[in-house]
Each structure stands twice: as C-alpha cells, then as structure tokens.
Amino acid sequence: MDTLLQQIINGLTVGAIYALIALGYTMVYGILRLINFAHGDIYMLGAFVGYFLAFQLGFATGPSLLGLGMVLIGSMIVAALAGMAIERFAYRPVRKYARMTTLITAIGVSLFIENLFVAKLGAAPRAFPQLLREQSYPLFGNAAISKSQILIFAVSVALMLLLQWIIFKTRVGTAMRAVSFNLNSAKLMGINTDVIISITFALGSALAAAGGVLTAQYNPQIDPLMGILTGLKAFVAAVLGGIGNIPGAVLGGLLIGLAETFVVGYGQNVGIPSTFRDAVAFAILILVLLFRPTGLLGSTVQEKV
C-alpha cells in the first residue's frame, strides 16, 4: 500500500513536469496548428539558464528559497524572450506556407538549439546546484514526499491556475481564445494577432522553463539533449489529452507520468521490462487515439467540403 502511494506521488511529480511542458505545445498548436518541436529544447534552455543564473547570482553555494525563486523567475523570463525570438525570426516568416514547411522549420530550430548548446557547452551532463535543502516528510508507512516534490506540485499548480486566470479572465486571454478559434475573424475584430501569437509563445516557453528548473532541482543532472525525449513525451501528453485543449494537456501529462512510473515500478510483475518506460507513453497514445481519434478531451471537428 505504501509503495503504491509512493509510486503515485513519484508518478504525479513526473507528470506535473510533463503537464507544464505540454501546456506550451497545446497552446501553440491551438493557435497556429504548429507542432513546435523546439519546445522541448526551450525546456532544456530553461534548465541551463537556471544553472548559470544560480552560479552568477551566487545562490549555488547555499540553498535558499529566495535564490530558488529568483532562478526560477529569471529562467522563465529568459525562456519567454527566447520563445518570442524563435517565433519572430523562424516561424512568422513561414506561417503562411504549408504545414510541412513550418514543421521542417520547427525541426530546424530544434536542431539549431541543440547543436548550439552541444558546441558551446559540450554534451557531457552537468550537476545542477542544490537550491533547496532536500528533506523528506513521511506520510504513512514507508511512503514519503520530498521537499522538491512538494515544490514541483506547488509551483506547477500555481502556474496552471495563473495560466487559467490569464486565459479566461484577462483581455489578452480572450484575444488568445479568439485567435485559436479563428485567426482571420480575430484579425477582423481588431485583434493584433501577431502580438497575441508572440504572447502565447512567451507564456508557453516560460512554463517549459519552469519545468526545466524544477526537473533539474528534482533530478540534478542536465545536458543539452535532455529536451528531446521529454519534449516528445510532453507532446504526446498534449495529443493524448486532445491537442489545443488546456485541461487535456494537464490530464495527459499526469497520466503519462503515472504510467511511466508504474511500468518501472510494477512492470516486472507482469513481464514488462523497465526499459519499456519510454514506449509506454506512445502505446497509451495509440490505444487512446484508436478509440477517440481527437484525444481524451478533444472535440471532434466536422469535416467540410
């Protein structure tokens, strides 16, 4: 029983990170119908910016909540700027062309960021400084929750609520919903769609960067290619929940996090080796899409001739 509880806690921790990244995928897709393959690399960039900020600002030597907060916010700001720059210089010029073109551009941006980081910093993993004094709180039995896990839950829930507020209670959010509903009509209503798209990228990238710093805090090893697989799984989470759907992205992320942890924890009992951890996200996705072709919470789009 306590191992089950422990697995659930660990799974939700991983899932919360996936959810944070998936939100960025789903928002961009909802607005531009673009799979932003560079999003996973923004997550990596966030972790690295956090790493350098921690050293530059001198928080790496002694854990402090203030330091963690500054590092987190700093890396979110830098990532938001990076996301806006990518949108402005790579995606905006090809927005009017076919989907395949924008997709290849996205892959190109992703390769660009990865290779730039590898060339500049080397591919070897680095140890992320400890910004939080690690401590474990027993729940019951042998199950326990660590401080960084609490942090991940607290920050991700706070950010998701903030996002929800922005999208449903502010003018910018209303404009974002309008643009995702119909780009051209939104333009006709006097919405500056370029600015809204830019803001969407900024929000999504900031969330991914938060995910990067939180992961680095929880599992203190970062390398320039860490965003590839995590980003892909987060994208799978977004599709699983129904791409373009914000609660769907969170649901998908949590489900995939749980499923992965369960495969590692209990897979052996039913003959699934733990190396299938990376396959389980795709397997769930395929199964779900066979029965619900637009994801768990996605709405079906009527085809028009």
């Binding site: 090809v94 076919a98 780009l183 791409i243 299938f276 996705l285 395929i286 637009t294 001739v305």
Partner: protein
C-alpha cells in the same frame, strides 16, 4: 528502335556503370583509380538515403499522409535480415554454393535477405497502417512516430539481436546492390505514381473527401501506399545493416525519420528527382561542413540547422517544388497521359506555381 531494345540497352548500360562505380568505390579501385573509403562511405549512405527518401515520398509527397515512422520500418528490415544472416544464412550459403558456385550463392542469399527484410517491413507497415491511417494530419504523424519508437524499444529488448549492446552483422552490401535498388525504387515509385493507383493517391492528397466521393477507396489506397513505402524502407534497412556491419537501435531513433522528411521537403514534396537531390544534399552537407576552417567546423551542425531554416524561409516549397528534373528524355511520348508531365499538375500550370502551399494553409484557416 523498339521499346524493349531501348530498355535492354538501358539496363545493360546501367549495369556496366554500376559495376564500374562499384570497383571504383571498392578497395581495389578501377584501373588503379579508387575513391578513399571516406568518400565511398558517403556515396553508399547517399544511395541508401535515396531509397528512404523516394519511398517516403510515395506516402508523404504523393499521397499526402504525414508519416514520421520511416526509421521504424527501416529497423524492422535491417534487424529481420540481420537475424537470418547471423543465425541461418551461413548454412544456406554453403549448401547453395555446392550447386551454383560461391559468388552466385552469396548474391542469391543476399537477395533472399533483402526480400525477407522487405517482407518484414511490409508486414509491419500493414500492422501500423491499418489502424493509424484512419487518423488525419498531425495525429497520424504522432502515431507513426509512436509506432516507430515502440518498434525500436521492442527490438532493444530482444537479446537474440544484441539488445542494447548492438548486433554484429556479416557484410553483403556493395555499391552494385545499393545503386541497383536505388534505381529500382525510383522506377517502382515512378510507375506507381503514373498508374491508375498513382492518380488515386494524388487525388487523396489533393482532397481526401472529394476523392472518396469520386468512388476511390481511400483507406485501401492509403494502406497500399504505406505498405509499399514501408517495404522499400525495409530494403534500405537491409542494405544499411549489411553495409555498416553493426546495428544499434540508436541508428533508428526518430531523428532518422526526421532526416528523411527533411530530405523530401528540401527536394520538394511530390518530386522524385527532388527526393533524390534532397537525399544526396542531406547526406553530403554535414560532411562537407567538416571542411570549414578552424573553429567553424565545431559549429558545423549548427550551421547545418541554420541552413535548413534558411532554405525553408527562402524556398518553402522545396528546391524543386513538384517539378521533375531532367526526366523528359526517359519518357516515351506515346504513353504520356493527357495533360502532360508532372503528376498532379494540370496542363501547363505546374502546381508549384499555383501556390498550393499557400492555398492549403488558407483553406485550413478558413475551415476552422
């Protein structure tokens, strides 16, 4: 000159060229001239990539179904033939050699291995294609990517083919095989595209709903194209495995599928010569960038990615769009369909000029 004679002549010329090139690229060289192994490796990989790109173009470029799973089918082909080659082919070759002689037996066994790899990949393509081709657009893309990753991870967990440590495979591939199958792939895809089935595929790309309304069994044609495309990818996998003589599942990660997509988009989707061009450029470019002076070569992959983005920004429909390059001398005028050369283009107006890339997106936005 009768057509069959022309064809025979063509085959003979190609065969001679292949043998000569093979000797040139091999260890002995041709009349004392030989390419250094580094260059011959690039040529071989380019040939294998041509097979991959042209076969993916059938499903993505001509049928319009976005698949990111090509690496998976390549892996199925490579590993199924490698398994046979390591555990069984030696015995077959020995017993066959007693009847037909050593070198012919060697070739026949490899032909069999290629057949097995193609069959394995075709079956995988059927299994993946039937459920996933019901999905559209990005959903199809992510599901094919998912299947490819699952295939890779399943192979990773089969200890008989080496698992995570990799798998040593006997070498069979030489340039004759690669060149012959690259040409064969182009011929197969060219003929499909210019047949009734090809017209059906193109109509699915242009408007699936309209194609269905015209009585085309879209699912059947999509699965057909997918299976053929997978089988050819399997052939590429077999050639790759027996060329490098070492298989590791890392060779078949989704980045490999991306690479093939980059090739066809770069060359121009729906253009066969474009795929060939794209395959060659994408193989050669990272190697050519190694020659950059000093510090630049450290950044070669960054420059490669930047070039990719720049090409997409300046030429979004690919280098060739949907046009073909220099195929006119191959065409026999009497068998040309009405409406002329390129598939999908109506008379005199190449699709690239109609700006279908732009129109597609507009339609999409209007549809929302």
């Amino acid at each position: 000159m009768p057509t069959f004679l022309k064809r025979l002549l063509g085959v003979i010329v190609i065969a001679i060229l292949l043998f000569a090139l093979n000797a040139f690229l091999g260890e002995q060289g041709l009349f004392g001239f030989g390419a250094p192994p580094y260059y011959s490796r690039i040529v071989m990989l380019a040939g294998i990539n041509v097979i991959l790109a042209v076969s993916l173009n059938l499903i993505t470029g001509f049928t319009g179904q976005f698949s990111i799973g090509h690496a998976g089918f390549m892996a199925v082909g490579a590993y199924s033939s490698a398994y046979l080659a390591v555990y069984h082919a030696g015995v077959w070759e020995q017993s066959l050699a007693k009847i037909v002689g050593g070198s012919l037996a060697h070739a026949l066994v490899f032909l069999l291995l290629i057949g097995v790899g193609a069959l394995g990949a075709a079956i995988a393509g059927l299994v993946v294609g039937i459920p996933s081709l019901r999905l559209r657009g990005d959903y199809l893309a992510i599901v094919t990517l998912g299947f490819a990753e699952i295939i890779r991870i399943v192979i990773l967990n089969i200890d008989k083919v080496g698992g995570a440590t990799g798998f040593s495979v006997p070498g069979y591939t030489n340039f004759i095989w690669v060149g012959a199958f690259a040409i064969l792939t182009i011929v197969i895809v060219y003929n499909i595209v210019h047949s009734d089935a090809g017209r059906a595929l193109v109509s699915i790309r242009e408007d699936e709903l309209a194609a269905e309304a015209m009585g085309i069994n879209t699912t059947r044609y999509k699965v057909l194209a997918f299976v053929i495309s997978s089988a050819l990818a399997g052939v590429a996998g077999v050639l790759f495995g027996h060329y490098t003589q070492f298989l590791s599942t890392n060779d078949f990660q989704f980045i490999r599928s991306f690479e093939v997509i980059i090739m066809i988009v770069l060359g121009g989707m729906g253009s066969l010569t474009g795929s060939v061009l794209g395959a060659i450029v994408i193989t050669v470019l990272p190697e050519a960038l190694r020659r950059l002076p000093g510090d630049f070569s450290k950044y070669r992959l960054v420059i490669y990615a930047a070039l990719l983005i720049i090409i997409m920004l300046t030429r979004p429909q690919g280098v060739l769009g949907q046009r073909e390059l220099g195929f006119s001398w191959l065409k026999r005028p009497q068998r040309q369909p009405e409406g002329g050369g390129t598939v999908g283009a109506s008379k005199g107006v190449p699709i690239a000029q109609r700006g279908s890339a732009k129109a597609d997106h507009k339609k999409e936005i209007d549809d929302r």
